[in-house]
Amino acid sequence: MNFGNVHPKISREFSVRLGRLNPRDKVRAIVMLRAEGNGVARARRLSRAERQSAAEMISQSAEAALPEIDQILEKFEGHRLAEHPNALGAVPVETTADGVIALARADCVKTILEDQTILPIVAAESNS
């Protein structure tokens, strides 16, 4: 999708926030890595075992990108926050704004999301 962002792998909102950081400020982000998967699950029901095996496949496939990610992070005073990519092929990192942009330029990176706050969608108790 084209979100009108500066870099297609970073959302416009995250780009704006990066632009406000000082050069040495650090930001936490989730890096989604390119990973091999079968990509057929929307059209065919997978068994539980098949899903678990697909998760392993994606995590292992994303692992191949880690040396390149580590090299970029080293240049920008950054580091990984997890040893291995998760079942979605994602790995959390901490680096500078320039580090995030450099990561986005790497072919092995699909998208980068800021590690922003999440909240419950507040429900109102309506007991009388």
Binding site: R28, R45, I118, P120
Partner: protein, 461 residues
Amino acid sequence: MLNTTLETTIIAETKISPAFAPFLAESGPNDIRDAIVIFRAPERDEPPARGRMRALRSKIKEVETRAKAQQAIQREVLASYQKAGSKVLPHKQEPKVSTIGSSALPVASVEVTPKTLPLLAEQPNVVAILPNQKIGLIQPKAVDYKELVRQEEKDGLTWGLKQLGVHDLWRITKGKEINIAVLDTGVHAAHPALEGRVADFIVIDPLGRRIKTDLAFDGGAHGTHVCGTIAGGRTANGVSIGVAPEANLFVAAVLIGDATLRTLMEGISWAVEKGVDIINMSLGFSYYEPLFDEVFKILLDQFGILPVVAIGNENHGNSSSPGNTANAFSVGAVEKIKGGKYDVAFFSSGASLVFPGDEASALVTKPDVVAPGVQVFSSIPPEKRPDGVFEYTYMNGTSMATPHVAGAAALLMAAKPEAPVGEIIRALRETARHPGGHHLRPDNRWGYGLIQPTKALRALG
């Protein structure tokens, strides 16, 4: 070209409010009704003062001047109406008229009958005629919980479950062997209505660490309420609260402490590793992140997992991230209204996002569907109150609508073990009921409409 009489009649008809229709249809020719007539205001000589209206004195003077000019028009309109009305009313009686206040506003109060109404509308300086009506304060709706409790106990299930017609589906399946992840505040697994339902539980801390506990707990009450609506059993009074009471729950407490996206990603990853079929997310981000759609795309394409996400409680015209991404199956809330009907709850979010140039998703319209989300009765961790210990409560929100859809999807998946997730989504969307008709789907209130699980099952063949 229209002849002059016909033209006048057409113009006159447009001045009469459609709200007069019942009066005109049901009343006798001489029955009287109070009305408000709005007449043409005189043109202003000067443009209105800009910014803050100069001094109060000059403002009052301007209003008085306008009132005088309007009084002349008003006198002429009302006199002409009374004269015309006396020709059609019994005993040549003139219709009653009265001014409102000092005539600062170009309105007056009049009596009309089905015969005099068109005569008033024909006056050239009349702009519109409205029936007078009672007005009232918009007050919070007083809910008769006693009646609701009585009805739900009589039915043996909550109004939401009844609305979705789950009894019919339960003859086929209750969601057995379908695994649903709930990423929320946790769950009070020892709740009697959730006995045997929580298959696994994990706490994800703000640093993304997985913490295993012996006892599944809830950091609030939200998660336990959501879990009850998905897979809860019966209350002591025999009220079924869960849509898929034989489905398994995999609960990740991700909304404990200062949770961030990393916490959520770890929770999703945990759910994927557990091989779940559905993930229920009644949560939102602090700001819009369209690229999170990539995560939902992976869930659907790589794992066949259905992400069911609340669209938010920020009213029409807004939507919550990540429920507003293209691949989220997002849910709005409906409430029960009088006469056995239902409507979209005022708080239920809905909006469209436009991505020019993107052929696949140029317009993303949310929510996808709606489900019961007001006065939803479900389980909570035991709560001490002055009048006793409570284990159930009513809650409102799209958070409460979302588990109805997750539960319904579980029933469909259990009944049709071969149906892929894409078919489940299509069946739920296509069979949903929009009260305005199929041609209005999807919109930002109903999405495709209120889900109809029984019809969705038939659509799956």
